[in-house]
Structure formats: structure tokens, C-alpha cells
């Protein structure tokens, strides 16, 4: 059952990204280009998502188990450290170069063609590199 809900949630998430314009890197970059021909659309995506999310997490916080009887896995970490900030800087740099973040990139795999595959393959390599380095205790 949890896989059915996760599949449904993935589809809804993907439809939201498409309708919201986030699967087009040109639109994402136009949002980030505040000194150019600024397109503030993506701020509306964030507002819509947080409006529903705020309510959802308020409810979630009061519950120990989910509706499917699974443990409520809310992040416990509140630490603001170098890893968090450095990670966000690296991610932001990549996002600013290509206009792709992980969600829209994955949602475009079947429709985007060669460029999307190159980006996603590199992203997976970057994730693998992190896991490898973390296991060696380098991070």
C-alpha cells in the first residue's frame, strides 16, 4: 500500500512541477536572473507548495505514526553547520548553471532527451561520489 501512495504522490509531484513550469530550465533560470528579464513565477510554486505543506506538517507533528501505520520520520537535526552551508552553496551553483534541481531533472528523464540524461547521470555520479567520500570519513 505504501508503494501505491508513493507512486501517486510522485505522479502528483511531477504534474505540479510541469504545471508550475519547473521542468523548463529556461524558466527556472529566468526566475534566478533577477538582473535580467525576471520571471517571478517560481515564487508562486513555492508559495502554493508551502501553503499546503505548512498545514500537512502541523498535523504530522502531533502524530507518532502515519495513516498507514508507519513511523512518522520528521527530521530531528536542527544543526546549522559547515556541511549544510557548503552543500547548499555547491547545489546552488549547479542549479544556477543548468536550471535543473533534482525533482524536475528526474521528472524530465522520459521526455527531455540527451541533455537531461547527461545531467541526471552526472547528478547520480555526484551523489555516488558523496556516498563514497562519506564512507571513507572524508566528510
Amino acid at each position: 500500500m505504501s508503494s501505491v501512495i508513493a507512486l501517486l504522490a510522485g505522479v502528483i509531484f511531477g504534474l505540479g512541477l510541469i504545471i508550475g513550469g519547473m521542468t523548463n530550465p529556461a524558466k527556472v533560470l529566468a526566475f534566478l536572473d533577477i538582473a535580467g528579464d525576471w520571471d517571478p513565477s517560481l515564487a508562486f510554486v513555492m508559495m502554493g507548495a508551502i501553503a499546503v505543506g505548512f498545514f500537512a506538517f502541523r498535523v504530522a507533528r502531533r502524530q507518532a505514526i502515519s495513516r498507514l501505520g508507519l513511523p512518522m520520520q520528521l527530521p530531528a537535526t536542527t544543526l546549522i553547520d559547515r556541511k549544510l552551508v557548503l552543500g547548499a552553496i555547491l547545489f546552488g551553483a549547479g542549479w544556477g548553471i543548468a536550471g535543473f534541481c533534482p525533482g524536475p531533472a528526474v521528472a524530465s528523464i522520459l521526455i527531455g532527451g540527451r541533455e537531461v540524461w547527461i545531467f541526471v547521470a552526472s547528478m547520480l555520479a555526484g551523489m555516488g561520489l558523496y556516498t563514497w567520500a562519506a564512507r571513507r570519513g572524508w566528510l
Binding site: 505504501s2 501512495i5 508513493a6 510522485g10 505522479v11 502528483i12 509531484f13 504534474l15 505540479g16 512541477l17 510541469i18 513550469g21 530550465p25 529556461a26 533560470l29 534566478l32 536572473d33 535580467g36 520571471d39 517560481l42 513555492m46 508559495m47 502554493g48 507548495a49 505543506g53 505548512f54 498545514f55 500537512a56 506538517f57 505514526i65 502515519s66 520520520q73 520528521l74 537535526t77 536542527t78 549544510l84 557548503l86 552543500g87 547548499a88 555547491l90 546552488g92 551553483a93 549547479g94 542549479w95 544556477g96 548553471i97 543548468a98 536550471g99 535543473f100 534541481c101 533534482p102 525533482g103 531533472a105 528526474v106 522520459l110 541533455e115 545531467f119 552526472s122 547528478m123 556516498t131
Partner: protein, 137 residues
């Protein structure tokens, strides 16, 4: 150049919010794409199926969308070497920083997490700076 689309973007955002609601209230999981993808291989066997299901849904969404409207364009002007650099940075950075636009930006801000606010402001500011450097400097 793209056009300002406040209403479709708001509707898209509400759908993304509804997806995070399903994930947290039904599965007890954070709908953070970089975490779901990045921990797919290292996850325990019982922790893998929902991840694969979510990723599959995400990939299937455009195929369902085309049944009712033409897909919006995917316009990529980035060169191949720069796509590789960007992908490596996004993959490594989101794992090091424990989240991306969905995990920190949507879920974290919805939880009023200060940690996620710091991450979100940092990646937004960096991305804006990088776009400015590439386009206007």
C-alpha cells in the same frame, strides 16, 4: 525569455504541496527528491520500494500530462561539459547539504525549520549569483 505565469505556477505549487502532504501523513516520509534518489542504493531492502515508486511516479507524470495537454517546452541552452559540472555539483551538494528545493525549500520551510531556511537562502543566493555571473558579469 519566459512569460510570468502566476496562476499555473500557484496551482503547480499546490499540487506539490499536496504530494508532500500524502508522503508525510500517509507514509511518514519527507518528499525530498535528492534524499529519495540519493539513498536508493544504500537504503535497507524494506526501505527501497516506496522510493522506487515515488521516482517512477515522478518519471511517469509527463506521460500522463500529455494525455490532456501538450507538454511545455524543456529549453536547455547549457553546453554538455557545463551540464556535467552542474549535475555533479547538484548531486554532491544536495547530499552534503541534506536536501534540495523540495526537501529544504518546500518541506523544511513548511516545518518552519531554521536549518532548512539557512540552506534555502544559501542555495537561492548562490544560484542567483551564478546566473548573474554567467549572464551579466
Amino acid at each position: 525569455m519566459t512569460t510570468f505565469t502566476p496562476l499555473p505556477s500557484l496551482i503547480g505549487g499546490l499540487l506539490i504541496g499536496f504530494s508532500t502532504l500524502l508522503m508525510i501523513l500517509w507514509l511518514g516520509k519527507i518528499a525530498g527528491v535528492s534524499g529519495i534518489v540519493g539513498q536508493l542504493w544504500s537504503a535497507a531492502a524494506g526501505d527501497r520500494a516506496w522510493r522506487l515508486a515515488f521516482i517512477s511516479g515522478l518519471m511517469l507524470a509527463p506521460l500522463l500530462y500529455v494525455c490532456w495537454a501538450p507538454l511545455p517546452a524543456v529549453q536547455i541552452a547549457t553546453s554538455t561539459p557545463m551540464l556535467v559540472v552542474a549535475g555533479l555539483l547538484v548531486g554532491f551538494g544536495t547530499r552534503l547539504g541534506s536536501g534540495c528545493t523540495s526537501g529544504h525549500g518546500v518541506c523544511g520551510l513548511s516545518r518552519l525549520s531554521l536549518r532548512s531556511l539557512v540552506a534555502t537562502l544559501t542555495f537561492m543566493a548562490t544560484a542567483i549569483l551564478v546566473v548573474w555571473l554567467l549572464r551579466h558579469a
